[in-house]
Assembly symmetry: C2
Homo-oligomer: 111 residues x 2
Amino acid sequence: MAERASHRAAPEHAHPDDVPVQTALAALADPVRVTLVRELADSAEWTRSCGSFDVPVGKAALSHHFAVLRGAGLVEQRDEGPKRVNRLRREEFETRFPGLLDLVLREDPTH
Amino acid sequence: MAERASHRAAPEHAHPDDVPVQTALAALADPVRVTLVRELADSAEWTRSCGSFDVPVGKAALSHHFAVLRGAGLVEQRDEGPKRVNRLRREEFETRFPGLLDLVLREDPTH
DNA sequence: GGGAGTGTATGGTTTTCATCGAACAGTCGG
DNA sequence: CCGACTGTTCGATGAAAACCATACACTCCC
């Protein structure tokens, strides 16, 4: 038998190489999205579902933010049962935008 | 005699060290402002007045954009006669946000 | 001091974006 | 197959930001 693929539409991803700088900067200019990226950076890959993040927005807005992050080449998603798990595209993003992710992740708390 | 200072209010500047990452990213997420920064990078310091830039906005909006750039620690301004001349704060900004300015300036035309 | 040139401030319009509530679609376990 | 769970989509709302036209302030030169 053919393997049982998900009947759900796979999320559309943009590879960092295809992302304009403007798009990347705009994606990282939102505090909620930065929180998502930071928490993701502190977690093992493919371990965090979309709903597992501590952000003060409803799930509709959350879904939107993840779409923006995908479109900026920052996050990759995969369906795992009923959940959609995430991975930060560290290396690919670093190659396309050297230093940018580090700037956001290493923000000194005094700022 | 006391020297003849300008009777005009000096523009308020933010030093890059006091600027949050969010502010810097938001400032660089606008295409008009990026154009200003790029043209400024290609000119000698203190040689470009505000009105000398080729951007498709009125002078009111232009004035606003320069205020944002000042607030992000990207641009320094000085009054010179009736004109207000500009300077890109390359080194200071680079020290505070390593690599960020280069990312914006070296944007590959294929993107 | 009048007038041209340059930039800022103000008020109002338009656009963009983040957000929510509710409805919907897919997955899994009983 | 039903119900709980997860996430997306849709429509609407509110806030933020970009923009313009106008009016104003300052500088310089004649």
